[in-house]
């Protein structure tokens, strides 16, 4: 999977109440094929992950926040809608009538890490990983005729999986005490 270049822009990290959150002025992940699918009226799922590591290259995060976002595009209103899928239907959060930029920001705002999970006395790095989950990958495998092995092999053996967009960005080092504090947007991560 080839990560998309997010340019030289910095991942802005701030504290929002009890949560560490990130923002990017021009993340622009709503583009290309996922955007085409959305404008055809389909749903597109994004997987977002925010991790905290002690070194820039560490593979073992000390804290993590994962969010699965379901996006769709209103054919008539020409605005986006987004839902963060939770473990239960009650834990879902949604927003609608959004522009592309507002939708992207909403996803980032909903990837928060509880400040109690951040090291109080050490420097740390913040890493953002966003990728598209292809609904068609899984919907074609299981159906009334059973498990379609051709689709399964096609998906696992697909060399062009890199064509699935992925966005990566790291920033740091930060210290907890130095983080900018903003107004409280919410109490959940």
């Amino acid at each position: 999977m080839l990560p998309m270049n997010l340019g030289a822009q910095d991942l802005a990290v701030h504290l929002d109440g009890d949560y560490l959150r990130v923002s990017l002025p021009h993340i622009d992940f709503l583009q290309g094929k996922p955007l085409d699918r959305l404008k055809d009226g389909a749903s597109v799922a994004f997987l977002g992950q925010l991790t905290i590591t002690l070194t820039p290259t560490s593979l073992n995060p000390i804290a993590r926040s994962v969010g699965r976002f379901a996006l769709s595009y209103d054919i008539w209103e020409e605005r986006f809608s987004v839902t963060k899928i939770g473990q239960t239907p009650d834990s879902r959060r949604s927003a609608s009538h959004l522009s592309a930029q507002a939708t992207e920001n909403w996803c980032l705002d909903n990837l928060g890490i509880d400040r109690s999970q951040l090291p109080a006395d050490k420097q740390f790095y913040v890493n953002l990983d966003l990728r598209v989950e292809d609904a068609r990958d899984q919907l074609g495998i299981i159906g009334d005729p059973g498990i379609n092995l051709t689709r399964l092999i096609e998906i696992f053996g697909r060399p062009s999986r890199g064509a699935q967009p992925r966005w990566l960005k790291s920033s740091g080092p930060f210290r907890l005490d130095d983080l900018r504090k903003t107004e409280i947007k919410g109490t959940r991560g």
Partner: protein, 457 residues
């Protein structure tokens, strides 16, 4: 009393195999072993669970689509509206399902499933659903974008079943589609449907619609090797029933869509059996066949009902060169009602054989769908020539799946013999095509449950 179900992978010292075991633990000290299976089953189960979970997530994603609030105004395939499509270009059942979308809310999960179905049935390389603005706000048009491939090729596992009694039953199919024709080659090992376990190959050809689109031709070929249970072997002697070692068959069939929900299939089945005994040699069961199928859905705002009926007849006659001469009748009736999270169904089967049929055509109870929990070889190790069975199921939807409780009652007997009604009950969990269930036979003495895990069973 806390109960924990544990899946334990163990390397059994006696057999050297890796086994998976499900234990119900009461408190922390005592446990009851429910059943034990082998590692391939653990792999099947974990694959099924992860695929079902992924499927469930994608369904949730589709369900959040903002366009679901709009009404579907029209449906088209490749830009051609359904009403303007030639009848022969689209199977009737698929056309009916697409037509039924019009006037309904735009269910994206249903549209995605239909895209897969169109791709599979019409052999397109890809099918993608597109929404377009309708003629008035609050309405959308659905267009399935079609990318043609001359042929399609799929390898699939259509059915898998594990039971703690009969072990694994499964099928692997390779399907080639061309111009709405279908050719399927499969390998099968089935210890569930008949009194024997049959293992071998099967091939099936299903034609594109012939003429005005209401007739289909089919041809089926099967070649199986049989394995007999010790209980069957012990009682077969002197009954005149031959425990053949292999059998093959060729069955041509024509299917007519008569009127709406009714289809009628007529055909023939030429079955050849090779006996284990050299004195008996080859025997045949050549029959004329008739199947009448009925299926109807009745949907209201609060209740969705489904009614299915089937009558099948096989008449083996010496006029067709058959060694066996018999007539086998079977009827099935199923009613299902869904309302909110509740689903209830009742399925009745009844059958009778006049004359002496070979073992593969005799009736069986104690399978994954009849008298669940019973051992078929205890009920009738040679099957029976008369059967009645009723299955009553209640399910309650929980999250992505359905928790079910069932009650089975049935009798299997010989013509002129005494019918003994048996009962069983059980519970299970169904998610999509996957099912886990445990059946308990109602009987005096020790009640040993049968665990079942399967796909499309």
């Amino acid at each position: 009393m806390p109960v924990f179900l544990l899946w334990v992978l163990r390397n059994t010292r006696k057999t050297g195999r890796v086994a998976v075991q499900c234990e119900a633990t009461f408190a922390e000290s005592s446990s009851i072993r429910w059943w034990r299976g082998t590692a391939p089953f653990a792999l099947l189960l974990s694959t099924a669970v992860s695929l079902a979970a992924g499927q469930g997530f994608m369904r949730q994603v589709a369900e959040t689509n903002i366009n679901q609030r709009y009404m579907i105004e029209s449906v088209s395939l490749g830009g051609i509206e359904l009403d303007r499509m030639e009848t022969s270009k689209l199977p009737i059942t698929l056309r009916d399902r697409l037509k039924a979308l019009i006037g309904q809310k735009c269910d994206m999960a249903a549209l995605e499933n239909l895209s897969s179905e169109i791709r599979r049935e019409l052999h397109f390389r890809t099918v993608t659903e597109h929404l377009l603005k309708g003629s008035t706000p609050e309405q959308v048009k659905v267009d399935f974008d079609l990318v043609r491939g001359d042929t399609s090729f799929d390898v699939s596992v259509p059915r898998v079943l594990y039971t703690s009694q009969e072990k694994v039953t499964g099928e692997l199919d390779a399907n080639v589609g061309f111009h709405q024709n279908n050719l399927t080659f499969g390998v099968v090992s089935n210890g569930d449907d008949l009194i024997e376990r049959f293992t071998g190959v099967a091939a099936r050809f299903d034609s594109a619609p012939l003429g005005p689109g209401k007739v289909h031709a089919g041809l089926k070929f099967e070649d199986y090797h049989e394995q007999w249970n010790a209980a069957t072997v012990a009682v077969a002697d002197g009954t005149g029933l031959d425990l053949y070692r292999s059998r093959w068959s060729v069955a041509p069939q024509l299917t007519f869509a008569v009127a709406g929900p009714v289809t009628i299939s007529v055909g023939a089945s030429f079955e050849q059996m090779e006996s284990q005994s050299s004195t008996i040699g080859s025997q045949s069961a050549n029959a004329a066949t008739l199947d009448v199928d009925y299926g109807r859905k009745i949907e209201s705002a609060t209740v969705q009902q489904r009614i299915e009926g089937k009558y099948s007849l096989r008449v083996a006659t010496r006029a067709l060169g058959s060694t066996y001469a018999y007539a086998r009748h079977m009827i099935l009736f199923k009613y299902e009602a869904r309302s909110g999270r509740n689903v209830a169904s009742d399925e009745f089967i009844g059958g009778a054989i006049a004359g002496q049929a070979p073992l593969f055509d005799r009736f069986v109870l104690g399978s994954s769908s009849t008298l669940r929990g019973w051992d078929r070889f205890e009920i009738a190790p040679l099957g029976g020539s008369r059967v009645v069975h009723n299955e009553l199921t209640y399910g309650y939807r929980v999250g992505e799946g359905t928790v079910e409780a069932f009650y089975d009652a049935g009798a299997l007997w010989q013509s002129g013999g005494e019918a003994l009604l048996r009962h069983s009950f059980g519970f299970g969990y169904k998610q999509g095509i996957f099912v886990l269930a445990t059946g308990f036979p109602i009987r005096e003495g020790r009640m040993e449950p049968v665990f079942m895990a399967g796909m499309n069973y």
